[in-house]
Symmetry: C2
Subunit: 524 residues, 2 copies
Amino acid sequence: MIDITGQSCIAGHWFSPEGSKFQSFNPYNKTSMYQFASCGADDIDKAAKAAGKAFQAYRKLDGRTIGVFLNTIADEIEALGDQLLEVCDSETGLGLVRLTGERGRTCGQLRAFADLTTKGEWVQASIDTALPDRAPVPKPDLRRMMRAIGPVAVFGASNFPFAFSTLGGDTASALAAGNPVIVKGHPAHPATSELFAHAIVSAVEKCGVPKGVFSLLQGMGNELGTGLVKHEVIQAVGFTGSERGGRALMDIAAARPQPIPVFAEMGSINPLFVGPDTLQAQAENIATGLSGSVCMGTGQFCTSPGIVVSVANETFETTLKTKLSEAPRGYLLNPQIAASLQAGLENLNNHPQLEWLNRADFEAGSMTPPNAVFKTSGKNFLADKTLSEEVFGPVTLYVECENEAQILEVAENLNGNLTASVHADKDMELAEKLFDVLEQKVGRVIYNGYPTGVEVCPSQQHGGPYPASSVSTSTSVGVGAIVRFARFVAYQGTPDDLLPDALKNDNPLGIYRLVNGELTTASI
Amino acid sequence: MIDITGQSCIAGHWFSPEGSKFQSFNPYNKTSMYQFASCGADDIDKAAKAAGKAFQAYRKLDGRTIGVFLNTIADEIEALGDQLLEVCDSETGLGLVRLTGERGRTCGQLRAFADLTTKGEWVQASIDTALPDRAPVPKPDLRRMMRAIGPVAVFGASNFPFAFSTLGGDTASALAAGNPVIVKGHPAHPATSELFAHAIVSAVEKCGVPKGVFSLLQGMGNELGTGLVKHEVIQAVGFTGSERGGRALMDIAAARPQPIPVFAEMGSINPLFVGPDTLQAQAENIATGLSGSVCMGTGQFCTSPGIVVSVANETFETTLKTKLSEAPRGYLLNPQIAASLQAGLENLNNHPQLEWLNRADFEAGSMTPPNAVFKTSGKNFLADKTLSEEVFGPVTLYVECENEAQILEVAENLNGNLTASVHADKDMELAEKLFDVLEQKVGRVIYNGYPTGVEVCPSQQHGGPYPASSVSTSTSVGVGAIVRFARFVAYQGTPDDLLPDALKNDNPLGIYRLVNGELTTASI
């Protein structure tokens, strides 16, 4: 068992920050628990300098060594045993079943990136050999690959305390690409972050990688995050959270003397479209599936389906209402989210064109919200842009359209989203039109499915046009996330000895390379 | 022969803008020539709406059809014949030899992108097949590829009136990815832009692609560009020019309600490092090569070598001075660049720690500047950040260091650059240290060469850390430039009929795809 001390950690060194105090909160019994303190400007500077120094050695480690490091981090997370699950459950109310699954996913991510760096192919090596006799000018030898960019600041997310927080996907991908990471721990689960820091510090020691590759700075308020993004050593930012928070970081990063990229995964209402004939045929099934997706994680998923768009159907409406009302209430992560959901539900309830189909109490201070479904017409939805804004929690809005044309109009008027789902087995013409529109609006189009449950694999795309994410082409899930934290460097006319292994003549890594335009594993 | 009318062109429709008038300028005889007028807000809106509409059809064209279109544009450029070369020469003073070469490069780029889209592999298709029986949850079928992002605004560059202007690399790559383009023509070569617009309008007609895929808006001043970047239809920006101009567009784009990426290729001083023993052995050779690189295009290349860093060497200094003074003076592109170079040379000349080794007159109003070399010590260079700023023109600064350690220190203190060159055949230990530093600072490291002459091939990287470019990982030269104007979209559980060809089961395009993690051309 590890003592939760409330300390932060810079490059393996634990210390008690001197900033304002805060405590973690137990949503089950609404009591305060462990005490923490916020890091300040000096701590940011120390962590950044340690990261900058560590980068000089870490960036040059071979992919196998980084792979061993990432695998060891996963092992050390598992070695934290039940303490990690119990501490996190007490800070988040997410439950042991979900957290056990999320731990598996988190370690799985680290191991997937370990496989990726061990294989070494992710650098997209490309070689064009010289043509010294070409007229009018000789063609030089040019070779290009991705290299690490430098220290990365990662902002932990409240809703995925494992998979998108201290040692989640952003940290794993930044480390995999060869960059040190400074994590701003999420203040809603600081003890969980502290345990994770122990895991990686232990892995750093076992693998002998430079200590400055990881620091955890705990803190409340905006100053810590702002200071981190502004620090000249930081070369990129990973963030998962609200549109407001993400945009604030984007604006700060864009205003730096040297602007840096912010990879923010933000708000999304994840519309689900159902064709009229399909709804007729599968009303109960789809209502049941949708209800399960809305309630999952108490609606606190970035892919939670916030609107369902179809025509009128009584069976669907009744089933959806009943299933949501019958589903057990879950716990919200923290009082801020509870208060914000309270306000969101009140707004929707007071909206003159909205009907709360299964109205239920949600008294102030409660951490267990009702699973809510509202209804409005397609016309009203189209008339009010605010209805396209995310309400974070187990809430969905049934947009009842007049016909297929109006369903399409709703699709055409969507903002950027992470996902859109289409159920249209009996409406294939509509499905085709919807896909045409939706693939322009979202990162992932789902057929006959529900958006929650984000598979971690190379073909995953978790990210979409703004405001779903800040850089629409990048993904924060799946091994494709690694390219966010690397950039291409070309080497011209360079002797073999000065080239990275991925570009050397005899292809010592045995990777696929684009040689004079053709993919091959051959030597030069 | 095409009449130069001074009109702009929206979606194939030629019209006379109503904004302020301007004329193109002949640097050879300093006379004004063709008359133009600036487009306004209404013109921007019309071009954007036409682009938005065209996008809906153009984005779905298959790669072969886009390839034919790009090849036809190249053919139509060639069909403009000598008129294009002569008009452009009269507007830029670049000379027919250079412009003939640049035309070849421009058509070569278009044809390279045609090959790319015809082959279809650039979309990075990836497929992970379903595991319906996986426990605890089934694995869905996921497929991912790059898709076009939407209308792109391209800002023509003054220094490459063909290769980086109206139908240059930005336009070619945006069109190749499936996006309409609106070009803001550079006011220093408007007649050249007008001729190019005729070429693409003709190609649009011959190929039957939607007319809104191309518009040319001519104009002076900042309003046109600002309005274009702010327009909600525009989804990305391509720019080649000054740091000041690029940063202004970055700031505007970042402040939009929906921020969009700006791919700006900006300032760079392209340092050239020479090891002490290598300088000793090859002083004359390197001075001669460097002089040629400095004078190329009257120093108006983004890769022009603005500083050379080594130790003291009299032969080198004398040869460099002599070669630069003996080289014929070239013409500058326009009076703005001439005035700015005049001011730049005066600043350098007045700098107390700088010596102008081959001081020569450059009277106000002249379009033919001296080929200048200044000298300072490593210590003075390190003490004054302003000496790292680009002076656009045939100017280089010899930074005379005390020893290898100081040479390295100069490298470590560099800002982001497009390129860095290393001559160190007799200083391999230093070369290794320099490569270690420089690959963190630049997009392309060159061994035993000079930075001018940017080969167009898949392994080229033209772009580097800020301020060399706005998005350090992207390249504006080579077929890799296409990914700037596309984003990944994933399709989950989607029937074959609804999938793009690149992701269909039987691989109708016959392209390499990452199937369950392995590259293959096999069917599913």
